[in-house]
């Protein structure tokens, strides 16, 4: 089928042709949907497990501990064991909960993450949907998840959950703005919202370097706001353990809890992947202008590896934030957004426009 680790577009095209030869167009579409859906689910499950394991190990390293060491070699099977445990646990429903919404909430959160993942370019040709409004789409669907969190908090009929959900709502709605605006900065630079185009235009140099200081500021703001959007520390007000026990998912158990848990980690992956795609050149290898030999060595590393290396780097950074900083208070989190990130962002967009107008970036 023409498997090429550097370019998947040929392979996917051939697969499509192969199906078309044997089936009707409708059947082909259905089969392709199924294949893509199953592979995404597998990816979410496996990468989610990996992230949970990684977080525990990284957090342990920050705290001078070893982390899970008992189940499997270096505790590698720990998260799988935990997942099995969560699967087998009883699903407890609070007596006075709103049953329909209570059951619906985890799925909404999960669906939002799946939707956002659809446009991520993993490697050349390995992208399910290549919209010309890719970035817009991601910012739009990633904020759907907050509905799930609000529903979860409200339907649990628990005061802690409700406070957590309300905090989460206020927080995500505000930080959505910063995420979008910092992405706008790069859209100005790239001239397109299509993710594949954005990646392609970083062939010679990443936008982080290309856009000079404005894109560096945009990157930092994107990281902060992205961390806030994923409800992770230091912005984990929604599930602030020391204040609200577990926040919006206090009343959830078993696999429904696992959904929230997994969604949080996959959201972190999405933020990291967006940061990678938009600022760090996506699956493009690291190139330095004139050092040909170095660039050749870098080209040799497959794009998938590049992509995941960068993603893991960003995720490590996000974890570093979480395991260093104390949590912000709810009014401070809004102060940070409206008094600091937003004005800086707006000024930054102006700066970026100047950079683009003077063709400083070329």
């Amino acid at each position: 089928m023409g498997f090429n680790i550097y370019d998947f577009s040929g392979m996917t095209h051939n697969m499509h042709l192969w199906f078309m030869e044997r089936m009707s167009p409708t059947a082909t579409t259905i089969v392709e949907w199924t294949v893509i859906g199953v592979s995404y689910m597998l990816f979410v499950a496996l990468f989610g497990l990996f992230l949970v394991y990684a977080e525990r190990k990284v957090c342990a390293a920050f705290q001078q501990r070893l982390g899970p060491m008992r189940v499997g070699l270096w505790g590698l099977l720990q998260t799988i064991a935990d997942f099995v445990k969560l699967l087998m646990k009883e699903l407890i429903m609070p007596k006075s909960a709103d049953k329909f919404l209570y059951n619906l909430a985890p799925f909404i959160v999960m669906i939002a993450t799946f939707l956002a993942m659809a446009v991520l370019p993993f490697a050349k040709g390995l992208q399910t949907l290549d919209f010309d409004i890719g970035i817009f789409y991601v910012t739009a669907v990633s904020s759907v998840g907050v509905i799930g969190i609000l529903l979860a908090g409200w339907s649990s009929n628990n005061k802690y959950s409700l406070i957590g959900a309300m905090r989460s709502g206020a927080q995500i709605l505000s930080y959505e703005l910063s995420v979008s605006l910092s992405l706008v900065t790069i859209i100005i630079l790239a001239g397109s919202m299509q993710l594949s185009v954005i990646v392609e235009s970083q062939r010679d140099s990443w936008f982080l370097f290309k856009g000079h200081i404005p894109s560096l500021i945009a990157f930092v703001i994107f990281l902060i706001a992205g961390t806030a959007e994923t409800n992770r520390g230091p912005f984990d007000l929604a599930e602030a353990e020391s204040e609200l026990t577990a926040g919006f998912h206090t009343e959830y158990s078993g696999i429904k809890f696992a959904f929230f848990f997994l969604a949080e980690y996959i959201n972190m992956f999405i933020v990291a992947a967006m940061a990678t795609t938009v600022f760090l050149g996506g699956w493009m290898p690291l190139h330095f202008g004139s050092i040909e030999s170095f660039n050749h060595v870098m080209d040799f590393i497959p794009p998938l590896v590049w992509f995941f290396m960068k993603v893991c780097g960003v995720i490590f950074l996000i974890m570093w934030f979480k395991w260093t900083f104390p949590r912000l208070r709810v009014d401070q989190i809004l102060t940070l957004e409206w008094k600091y990130l937003l004005p800086i962002n707006l000024v930054n967009i102006l700066l970026m426009c100047l950079v683009v107008l003077t063709k400083f970036h070329l």
Partner: protein, 160 residues
Amino acid sequence: MNALFQYISTVFKGVGTLLTGMKITGKYVFTPWNNVTQQYPENRDTLKMFDRFRGEVIMPHNENNEHLCTGCGICELNCPNGSIEIISKMELTEEGKKKRAIDQHIYHLGMCTFCNLCIKACPTGAIVMGQNFEHAVWDRTKLTKVLNQPGSKIAQGVKE
């Protein structure tokens, strides 16, 4: 203009303090050989408690199955929680005199607070604190121990 200056300096100062914090945690994350975790059941062989560690009350016996306990009951009196019970018996000495001796030195580990008062009070040094700290058992009746071994007797020359 002054306000703008202040604003910018607030931002930079804030970011600076955050980076200082990240430097500290970063220092530790990249030096994993400084980790402090001890892998407990695996390090049993090398794990040594301090010699004064108060793990449980034990009554040492010598190779002839002899101990130093006279059965005087001072430890029982000194115990604040009633975790020691002395059952004494009357024995005939070689001279034909009746003498009190220990029959059973019962020790309820489950009630013990390891306060060391019994050890301190013991006039003959018959009981000491042991180093064992793995006391978990499945059945709480196993926490009640008889400290003098069956068939043991008091060592020669120990007086009350």
